[in-house]
């Protein structure tokens, strides 16, 4: 009781009210900016006629959403996963198998896959979050590779042959659109908006503060009442949930999946990179990073040939090093710097 009286101010000073008001105004502004940007992105596919470029747009939005999901665990909570391809694959396979083999609506499949992925993330987190920093990252790589091998040898899910979606007329019920790319651009954008909103809300909540505290200094975090282990588990489950939704959407987009095409290590990198490139643990980093990285990747891929060559992996590795050396806080920090400088002058 005595301890509390230290904090409870005798009268809330006007400056406190003022600070609270300013903060709320800042939050509202972020929301308006978000609404504006997303509205622009929703209109964008209509402005692009070229099917190839539309495809690039769909992938950019999808990777932005996936990186936004990765960012919840990797960027905010500081647990660097290099195995999110596992959750992507779980979403893709759950949605595909349920639809193709059992006629379950892909919408339901997305949800079930997401819940399955979140559960598996918790099962993996249980032992792995007791490991220190780098060991966690290595464990995620190993587990995702094991998942890939399992899928390749599991006949029930088509083994190495994969799963082919049947040919059906275009429909929002089955998420199948033979030629039209615009629906999937909007589906991917929907997922991006969803993950952005979750990030926006959670970042300013008990969990968000807890995650960032855990990322910066777990020992200090727990001394201040943060449940470190539980924080990591929650971040992992949310992150895996949305990654799996992305996997399911991707499967409905490409209509054919096999283990290599949804679960290879390349994907794990591609989920982490946009956020790292744009700015980890930031609201817009994933989208900025994806908007830079994915078009380059897709366009260079059509020149350099398939994904098997590993050239793209070298490119990603090089890119990460350049970012790490030149601007560890990501591309977004370029703008922050100028704003801080501007404030200084005033």
């Amino acid at each position: 009781m005595t301890g509390t009286s230290l904090i409870a101010a005798p009268a809330i000073s006007p400056s406190l009210d003022e600070a609270a008001r300013r903060f709320a105004a800042k939050r509202r502004r972020s929301l308006y900016v978000g609404a504006l940007i997303f509205a622009g992105l929703a209109a964008l596919p209509y402005a692009i006629r070229d099917v190839y470029l539309q495809n690039v747009l769909v992938l950019t939005l999808l990777y932005a959403a996936l990186s936004q999901s990765w960012n919840i665990l990797g960027g905010y909570c500081g647990q660097i996963s290099l195995g999110h391809a596992l959750y992507f694959g779980i979403g893709a396979y759950a949605t595909s198998i349920l639809f193709v083999n059992y006629g379950v609506s892909p919408w339901l499949g997305l949800g079930l896959g997401a819940v399955l992925a979140a559960s598996i993330a918790l099962a993996i987190g249980w032992p792995c979050f007791r490991l220190g920093g780098h060991y966690f990252s290595i464990a995620t790589i190993v587990i995702a590779e094991a998942g890939l091998l399992l899928m390749q040898n599991w006949d029930f899910v088509g083994g190495a042959m994969g799963v082919q979606w049947p040919f059906n007329p275009d429909s929002w019920a089955t998420l199948q659109f033979a030629r039209d790319k615009i629906p999937h651009a909007h589906l991917a954008l929907g997922l991006l908006v969803g993950t952005w909103l979750v990030t926006f809300v959670v970042a300013e909540s008990r969990w968000g503060y807890g995650w960032r505290a855990v990322k910066d200094d777990p020992a200090a975090a727990q001394s201040l009442g943060v449940e470190v282990f539980r924080s990591k588990m929650a971040a992992a489950a949310i992150s895996a949930f949305f990654t799996a939704v992305g996997g399911g959407l991707y499967a409905s987009y490409v209509s054919y999946i096999d283990p290599e095409s949804v679960m290879s290590f390349r994907f794990s990198l591609l989920f982490a990179l946009p956020a790292v490139l744009g700015g980890v643990g930031t609201l817009w980093g994933a989208l900025v990073g994806a908007a830079i990285l994915i078009p380059i990747t897709e366009i260079s891929r059509s020149y350099l040939g398939g994904t098997g060559s590993g050239i793209d992996l070298i490119f990603y590795g090089g890119l990460v090093m350049v970012v790490a050396i030149a601007r560890p806080e990501g591309v977004l920090s370029l703008f922050k710097r100028t704003r801080a400088a501007r404030n200084e002058e005033v």
Binding site: M1, T2, G3, T4, S5, L6, I7, A9, I12, S13, S15, L16, A19, A20, F23, E204, S205, R206, G208, Y209, G210, R212, A213, K215, D216, D217, A219, A220, A221, Q222, S223, L224, G225, V226, E227, V228, G281
Partner: protein, 247 residues
């Protein structure tokens, strides 16, 4: 609950902790009275920080018990001890360096506030009390060392503790900063928070504390009023040195 309001707020009961062969705390027994400022002193490596780690739950003792407000907390994890009213600072400041000062303190305030909005208000209020408001928007990683210590205290205070463990928060400060720090600790104590503070500079600690406990090689060498402790022969030999005998 069997909380006796007149009993000690903290009881360290025959606690031992060894790191391998090195016994960092040996059979440590001490009571901390409600509302007092207790000085914990002793030479480098005496086991002061280790005792803080035991009280805050970073380590569990290999022997003995720790009771807070009459309840055995020996096995409780650190976060739970914080919620029960024990807060601490770290000898080497551990600020959340990617967050700004206000966000750092908000983490602490969330320990007893239901949501971020009310925690932020409480954090702003705490910042005012420790006179750090002008740095609220500064990134913690860019603070000066004295500011970092102040942030440590603010963050711990924001959790609304009844027992506050301060590990060398006045160390490395200029005389005027140290004076402000002492005033802050007095204010905290005046609000009814019990304080245990580790400090090396005798001229600063002794006038401030109600009682002092001297640790040496992991054991309690002496305890009592500051004036008694500094006259203790064992303490002079082990820690204070001849300079103090003369004084």
């Amino acid at each position: 609950m069997s909380t006796d309001p007149s009993g000690p707020i903290l009881r360290v009961d025959d606690v031992t902790l060894a790191f391998g062969g090195l016994v960092a705390n040996r059979d440590v027994t001490l009571d901390v009275r409600r509302g007092e400022i207790l000085g914990l002193i002793g030479p480098n490596g005496a086991g002061k920080s280790t005792l803080f780690n035991l009280i805050s739950g970073v380590y569990r003792p290999s022997k003995g018990r720790i009771l807070f407000e009459g309840t055995d907390i020996t096995r409780l994890p650190p976060a739970e001890r914080c919620r029960r009213g024990i807060a601490r600072t770290f000898q080497v400041p551990r600020s959340f360096d990617s967050m700004n000062v206000l966000e750092n303190v908000t983490v602490g305030a969330l320990a007893r506030h239901p949501n971020a909005a009310s925690a932020r208000r409480a954090a702003l209020d705490t910042l005012e009390r420790v006179e750090l408001t002008h740095r609220a928007e500064a990134v913690a990683g860019e603070l000066t060392p004295p500011e970092k210590r102040r942030l440590e205290v603010a963050r711990a205070l924001a959790t609304g503790p009844r027992l506050l463990l301060l590990d060398e928060v006045l160390t490395g400060l200029t005389p005027s900063e140290a004076k402000a720090g002492v005033a802050l600790i007095r204010r905290v104590a005046a609000m009814g928070v019990t304080v245990i503070m580790v400090e090396h500079v005798m001229e600063v600690v002794m006038p401030l504390v109600d009682r002092a406990v001297v640790l040496h090689l992991g054991s309690v060498l002496a305890q009592g009023l500051p004036a008694e402790v500094v006259r203790d022969d064992g303490v002079i030999t082990a820690y204070l040195g001849e300079r103090h005998r003369a004084a």
